[in-house]
């Protein structure tokens, strides 16, 4: 029997520096002036959901610099991805990029980041609150979405889950951080495609833009990252008639200092955009601290698309192999586990599962309670 546990929820003890609920974003409302929002590091977000065997759009929590302290009022499967944020359950460190079973009454907390800025806490379960305009994503500037009228997580918030979710994450996956995620050594080079307004700049200024190093300013947030470095001069005008701006577009305002537009950007704007960052390099920015120096590398659209496609294929392979649902039954009398086809695990209540993942092998310890 499926149990509906009304207490299936988490409580926020300490929200950390800035933590918000995000999914992949809200795409159908931009024509009404509504920003997409959504996870800044869509790569870490998507991988976390794939590892848990979720729909890639299942909502999670995006942390910034220092993550939150969260009490689990129910046992839940989670996966922490993104910045190396040294997550702990109670006093024990837990692994990132793998499903972790968090027991009821445990506390998830984070240490100092040793790399990156934003971590993602993904859940096998799904939050139990109404989406706003088809998305769970929070935009704190406009107070849209999220669990609490567009606010970030605050101390004492309680967020319920849809149901007591007994489903297990896949018992194995092909995830390999070296293959599937940002390589630290090339995290400061962002591949760009020139345009749409590169004709507002002469070749000297485009050259300057491509050859200079830019520092990420402290005035950087989910709307956009401001850069400081060699100013880029416009041929003449430094404004355009307002029009839509794509994710990752690099606009050059009058002072010549580039601004990269990110997920919470306004839907339209009036500065010329010299270039646009390739979609798969946006996560590199999401994981860059203010003060970090970055460079741009020009690529052609054909290359950008083949990189995009290859990346998509690689992600698909994370849990693309022949598996069946894990079907097991517990023989209480003999303290034995039997496996059967077509018996859903989520009918079983009285056991705890620890799992260890090692490529395709796994060990499953089941303790009868």
């Amino acid at each position: 029997m499926k149990s509906i546990n009304k207490k299936s929820s988490i409580s926020i003890i300490d929200p950390g520096i800035f933590s918000t609920i995000q999914d992949l974003g809200r795409y159908k409302y931009q024509k009404f002036g509504v920003p997409t929002s959504g996870a800044l590091d869509q790569s870490a977000f998507t991988i976390g959901n794939l590892i848990l065997g979720n729909d890639t759009n299942n909502p999670g929590i995006e942390t910034t610099m220092i993550g939150p302290k969260i009490k689990f009022n129910s046992s839940e499967w989670i996966c922490v991805t993104g910045a190396k944020s040294n997550p702990k359950i109670n006093d024990s460190e837990i692994k990132m990029w793998t499903p972790v079973y968090v027991k009821r009454n445990s506390i998830l907390s984070f240490g100092q980041n040793t790399w990156g800025v934003r971590s993602y806490i993904l859940f096998k379960n799904t939050f139990n609150f109404e989406k706003t305009m088809d998305s769970y994503s929070t935009n704190t500037n406009l107070n849209i979405g999220g669990h609490n009228n567009g606010f970030q997580l605050l101390a004492n918030d309680k967020i319920s889950f849809l149901e007591k979710n007994d489903k297990l994450p896949p018992f194995t996956n092909n995830f390999d951080i070296k293959k599937h995620y940002i390589k630290e050594q090339d995290s400061y080079t962002l591949r760009i495609i020139l345009g749409p307004h590169d004709d507002f700049f002469d070749s000297n200024n485009i050259k300057k833009f491509l050859e200079s190093e830019y520092e990420i300013s402290t005035q950087s947030n989910r709307i956009g990252f401001r850069l400081s470095g060699e100013p880029i001069k416009h041929k003449s005008k430094s404004d355009i008639i307002s029009e839509g701006g794509a994710l990752g577009s690099i606009q050059i305002p009058g002072d010549g200092q580039p601004i990269i537009l990110l997920q919470d950007r306004g839907t339209t704007g009036g500065y010329p955009k010299i270039a646009t960052i390739s979609t798969i390099d946006i996560p590199k920015l999401a994981q860059s601290n203010p003060g970090q120096k970055i460079r741009f590398k020009k690529i052609e659209i054909e290359d950008a698309i083949s990189i995009y496609r290859a990346n998509n294929q690689i992600l698909k392979n994370i849990n693309n192999f022949e598996t069946k649902d894990i079907n097991i039954q517990i023989d209480n009398n003999n303290n034995k586990i039997k496996t059967y086809e077509n018996i859903k695990l989520n009918h079983q209540k009285s056991f705890e599962v620890n799992s260890e993942y090692k490529k395709k092998k796994y060990t499953l310890k089941i303790k009868l309670s």
Binding site: Y27, K28, Y29, Q30, K31, F32, G33, V34, T132, M133, L142, N143, I144, I193, L194, G195, P196, H197, I241, S242, E243, G244, G245, A246, L247, G248, S249, G266, T267, T268, G269, K273, T276, I277, S278, T279, I301, E302, A304, I305, Y308, R309, N312
Partner: protein, 248 residues
């Protein structure tokens, strides 16, 4: 010169979007062709289409690069533009009446406008509320209408120091533009009044009150009492916005 339906210029906006431009200037005919083309593509609803953001003179089309190659996308757009039915029936429009209380505490910059234009408050209200303004686009913030057609007589520069938060419903002007702030956002326009009408409501379907191609007319309210009455009716869902079909 017929400004509408000139051949689109298509430019890359990264690997997942293209910028389609239908003319270099702000002009009602160009804007009409933008919305005609954008509606046409949305009706076709190709599988790779994610979202179109129409603006004054062009549009940004977000697409799924796994669904179509850029070259094919470009050819598709050019072909559709050539073959679509180019309605010339750009003569009727929906006129939406926005009740507005001018001046006083809701129009803190009315004095600035009076000083700059050398017009009286009454003249400013009468000029501002006499025009039917075309909604060129929705953008900047949720439900914000970019309006065209402000009288040159009211041309007033932006504030030197932009406000960090403009109250929702504020009616403002800047140079040749006028607009209504649907949600509290920073802004540098001169605030001359306020409407109790909600231009954006995420709980409503669709969340916006006005669409590109509509016209807006401001109707001056006589008193704060009248403003509050409408505000209360809106809260109780008993207020209906006045709309008319008009000839342009």
């Amino acid at each position: 010169m017929n400004k509408s339906f000139s051949k689109p210029s298509i430019k890359l906006a990264g690997d997942s979007a293209v910028n389609v431009d239908l003319g270099g200037i702000i002009h009602p005919e160009i804007n009409f062709s933008v919305h005609t083309f954008s509606t046409h593509i949305q009706k076709n609803n190709p599988k790779w289409l994610i979202q179109i953001i129409p603006a004054y003179k062009g549009m940004l089309i977000y697409y799924d690069p796994l669904g179509i190659e850029f070259v094919n996308l470009k050819n598709y757009l050019l072909k559709e533009f050539e073959t679509m039915e180019k309605s010339t029936n750009n003569t009727s429009s929906t006129l939406i009446t926005i009740p507005t209380l001018y001046g006083g505490k809701f129009g803190p910059d009315m004095e600035n406008v009076i000083n700059h234009t050398k017009l009286s408050k009454r003249e400013i209200i009468s000029i501002h509320s006499a025009t039917n303004y075309l909604v060129y686009a929705i953008g900047f913030s949720p439900g914000f209408p970019y309006l065209g057609g402000l009288s040159q007589k009211l041309n007033t520069p932006r504030l030197k120091n932009p406000r960090t938060k403009i109250p929702a419903g504020s009616v403002a002007i800047a140079e040749t533009q006028t607009g209504i702030y649907p949600s509290p956002t920073p802004g540098g326009w001169q605030i001359i009044g306020k409407t109790p009408v909600k231009l954006f409501d995420p709980e409503r379907t669709p969340p916006v009150l006005v669409n590109p191609g509509d016209m807006i007319k401001f109707e001056p309210l006589k008193s704060l009492k009248e403003f509050t009455e409408i505000e209360n009716k809106i809260k109780q869902n008993k207020y209906s916005i006045r709309t008319n079909e008009i000839n342009k």
